[in-house]
Symmetry: C2
Subunit: 339 residues, 2 copies
């Protein structure tokens, strides 16, 4: 496993594997646009010859920094991700530089400028919109990148880390059907985000499996923020045949649904059961404490940091796309339907 | 204002001011242990001669980084401070390295080790316990430091930034007395923290001014976290003569009090008024939305960043101790007492 002692080149690996040099580069950079069997072959050869990226080996640990880039720092789950990344990076002797790029005009340009000045061992993006400018520039600077929780889709050729959103939507809804609910509302996330779509599909699959109402009138679309949960909750509760339970696609929207119930004089869970998604610290602090689907945000951050550090050292990564498991956490906001 | 063109030394300034060289250094480093009139004189002379710290001028912008160091990354107000620091630093072309030191054994040593490897233009601590090790080492490395929201007291000889805790405790309690409450409970913060003591004193001052009950049985001590607010709330509600309103010294404790009321079958605000402290985003998401005292956390972070960057450039700062104003934010968790 320690190689043959001689320095092997990418060209030699490409020749032996019968693929092009750019293909070997793509495998080394953890890109997704390589066929699985090709990746496997190339990685086996890289390992066999003890290959390490030259540039990366020189760079690794030089900057002693990784960048964690958010669109905005306005969601409580940002802190969970920071915690996960910092924990792994700190232990590896690496500092975590936290930035927000989309709140200000020209902020992305400024961030790239800052990055050029001080260098970085790798970049973790927590944003769906990885602009082509950033993408091209990081490739040019030979800085590895990883994307956490992408909503944009499969066209990214960088490693991505997400959660099992479909399974989470399924388990939230199954919990409600198992309690006896048959009319279950959904406040979904934005339609263009894949994670929203996956949670919606999990919700529908559970309803169909239980023979419960599949009714488009029971689905409202929000933006993951509190106000949209409140509005969606009111709209659902004001239906001629309102639901007895509501699944909200984020915890903050679920808190909005609880407030909507209070405004309509309904008690949670006696008159309305509510399930959230995320398991932010806030969900324990709700009144009543919120039943929710745990998204392992700190673990996702930790894995993103480990993946980035591996790429910075020129080591291969397991797979370019990882989904960590979600888990139902039952607290006090759900019970059997009244009557 | 541009000086006399010749490079003036610290020794010359000290001679002219009739003070020692270390005293001039203390002024330059923003330390608190200098008499106000001495500081004023030294700063006037520094300005008059156009003095800039040599080492700092060379270093400024070299690292392109400031460090923001938390004890733990487990409180939602950490994110508010990160947001404030990042906003100012990012605009100045400086990256914000976020670390947590007290969760792990040896984590402080590791952080200092990381800092030595990669350098930093300045350090902002968000922790009461600035260990002598850190303090001595940063002085040795000539890295300026600023402390946000210190609870330890006035023996710190570095610039500190806090909030007007006494005035905040006063306004929270005045709000309740003005609504007609006369029996007002308090869930206080930890006794050893100055901010807790200041809020407690503000509470007592408002009670006395209004001729309301000053009763030690109405005061419970928590640790700013949810569980202690819940426990303190239950203890107060179970008193033979329970309060009609409770002021909690943090928002997360106030959410615990709301949950305690729900457990006792009481409605907020009809049966019990609740006021928090902090105005975290979470306080808008409570059910009902929380009346609270706004602590300008993002502004405090921004000021800490500006102060750190000024010190890194060898510029004088206004004052070594700043308290930013708190502000009462009235939402739906408070009303007149029943009956």
């Amino acid at each position: 496993m320690t190689g043959d002692g001689k320095r092997v080149t990418i060209a030699a690996i490409a020749h032996e594997a019968g693929v092009s040099v750019p293909t070997v580069s793509r495998v080394l950079n953890g890109r997704a646009d390589v066929a699985p069997q090709t990746r496997e072959l190339v990685e086996r050869l890289l390992k066999q010859h003890g290959y390490r990226r030259r540039a990366s080996r020189q760079q690794a640990g030089k900057a002693g920094l990784i960048d964690l880039v958010f669109k905005d720092l306005d969601s409580p789950w940002a802190l969970e991700l920071i915690r996960g990344v910092e924990d792994v990076a700190h232990a590896a002797g690496v500092g975590t530089v936290v930035s927000a790029v989309h709140r200000r005009s020209a902020a992305t340009r400024q961030w790239l400028q800052n990055l050029r000045t001080r260098a970085s061992d790798g970049v973790i993006f927590v944003t769906s919109e990885l602009t082509t400018t950033i993408h091209a520039e990081l490739h040019r600077l030979n800085i590895p990148m990883v994307v956490v929780d992408p909503a944009g889709g499969a066209d990214l050729d960088v490693p991505t880390i997400g959660a099992t959103n479909w399974a989470g939507g399924l388990s939230a809804t199954e919990h409600l059907t198992s309690l006896g609910h048959r009319r279950i509302g959904l406040v979904a996330g934005p339609k263009h985000m894949l994670c929203s779509r996956a949670r919606l599909d999990g919700y529908r699959a559970a309803l169909e499996a239980a023979g419960a109402d599949v009714d488009d009138a029971l689905v409202r679309t929000g933006d993951f923020l509190h106000a949209s949960g409140f509005a969606g909750g009111l709209a659902l509760l004001d239906l001629p045949r309102p639901p007895t339970a509501i699944f909200a696609s984020s915890d903050t929207m679920a808190l909005g649904v609880i407030e909507a119930a209070r405004r309509r004089g309904l008690r949670v869970p006696d008159d309305l059961s509510v399930v959230g998604f995320d398991d932010l610290p806030e969900s324990c602090w709700a009144s009543p404490p919120l039943t929710t689907v745990r998204q392992p945000l700190a673990d996702m951050g930790g894995l993103a940091a480990r993946t980035t550090l591996r790429l910075a050292q020129g080591l291969p990564i397991e797979t370019p796309r990882v989904e960590l498991a979600t888990e139902l956490v039952v607290r006090d906001s759900t019970t059997r339907p009244a009557g």
